[in-house]
Symmetry: C2
Subunit: 340 residues, 2 copies
Amino acid sequence: MTSVAEILKGDRLAISRLLTEIENGTSEGKRTLNELFPHTGKAHIVGITGAPGTGKSTLVNRLAYEYRHPSRDRPPLSVAVVAVDPTSPFSGGAVLGDRIRMRDVAGDPGVFIRSMASRGSLGGLAQTTAGLVQVFDAAGFEVILVETVGAGQAEVDIVDLAHTTLVLEAPGMGDDVQTIKAGILEIADILVVNKFDRPGAKNTLRFLKNMLRQFDPEERYELHHGQRSPFPDLPITESEKNKPGWDPPILTTIATSGEGVSELVERITNHRNFLLSSKRWSLKEERRIKREMDTMLQRELLIKWRDSTSSTLYQRTLKKLVKREISPQRAVQFLLEGDQ
Amino acid sequence: MTSVAEILKGDRLAISRLLTEIENGTSEGKRTLNELFPHTGKAHIVGITGAPGTGKSTLVNRLAYEYRHPSRDRPPLSVAVVAVDPTSPFSGGAVLGDRIRMRDVAGDPGVFIRSMASRGSLGGLAQTTAGLVQVFDAAGFEVILVETVGAGQAEVDIVDLAHTTLVLEAPGMGDDVQTIKAGILEIADILVVNKFDRPGAKNTLRFLKNMLRQFDPEERYELHHGQRSPFPDLPITESEKNKPGWDPPILTTIATSGEGVSELVERITNHRNFLLSSKRWSLKEERRIKREMDTMLQRELLIKWRDSTSSTLYQRTLKKLVKREISPQRAVQFLLEGDQ
């Protein structure tokens, strides 16, 4: 039994236990998350995404260190790190073993690091990540860094979850149009060219600047999320639209030496202030919570339906469908209305 | 109006129009898909996945050419290509413009190529891809090559859809554990080291062989698919389990010159024969259809619920949730049972 009170006062063992419960999808974990919910909504959630080899882990390490030991005039903040590795959807990352990471901040009680592996279940990864973030938020961590690899859906998910999304690029990854991913530029609140001491770094920077010029930053807040939601998101009001937007800056870093990291934290903080002052914070918050609610709703509808349906009807319908005796549409009709 | 008869006799203009309908998610497209369903199930669906820069497009081009002009004693087969680009979840790939591809097979009526971009909607990409494949299947294409980039979920989806999954790797992409993705090895029916003329190619090959040794091939048929399904998949029977399995081979190719491509097609065909003779074909087929049915069912349940619920209740509940006056669980309870 995980005590909510222990989590709220930041007990590391209790947090650790709860994170495991959530990763395993236990009902105990879900119950506790539910109880923690009123205590969430304070942390600044920062997503860090980029292709393998861009140096995400090293940069996240440095960011955590910079938050703990500010080189400028900033108060130190407590930091939690959630490292998601969807490159390993099936093995759960066990093949590679746990990465050695975060040496610089090890032993610091103001830092908590959790590596998790994708479990390969549809929607499960995003949901579990959101759960872990919620625990850290309730436990009082001020900044939560969510590191994720991936292309496509993983980025959409991080935009949902994070207040501020960093997209990492690195020179020498093959600077062709195929490698520099067009889509993920649009989700970046801040673009980072890491490994800036590498050959070709300035070309990468120039290339990104050109690509970025093609996007209307406003569109990045108008992402569509398909059929997951029964009712559409609230649109941005006209008066909101006319307020000055956020122009994603491109920063350069050398994470191994720490160069540019202090400036990066400065910009992340600026973005947070921009969100708060422009009401984008609450807008993002609202949409995120809406999506969570929609996902839960869908699951509950399915459970409710299953509990009222015989497995025989389901299997019989499936068999007819596999034999192509009925169409998929007819099959679903059978399932919802019974096979008369 | 797209005519089912036109599709069935392979009319290219009709096919093209229907593909667009499906990409746009029109009800006309859905209706036609439904009517085409009895005519599907004949094509060999081959998924090709791998990180950006592994040379997927070039290899797919070569594969199509080899199917059309066999260099060994094989009959030529008609080929459809579905190229999915989830690296561009938002822009729909428009930034890069249409890639110039498939020069070698242009003008051949036995080849049909469709590039599609992810629309950024959850689950939408997989579903649309499945729809396009179904059209080509009904139109009589014998082999359907589905090319997809990505990490994580994209691979899970391709396993669902394809009979045979090729995973591409390339040397010189940074042969560290982070770049060679552990997870996608497990979904490979055939592993391909492309760009085998590049420096370090033999190291990559050795590395992959070592990694592959750690997997039980049988497990690759026991993937879990999370909470999408109300009823679990049928398990593989004991007698099935005792039959000899498929040991994923590692092949090497140089797609730019075509080296190794004929051998690769040979192995893909072997895998098809293995699936057919071991009943894996019908097992895969059944699971895929089941997943499609489950997805449709979920959507229909949500639509049914929405039509019976007032938008006011939804918005009121959301507002309470955003203010953290109620927990997510309580919110869903309100939505399902009404707010008394």
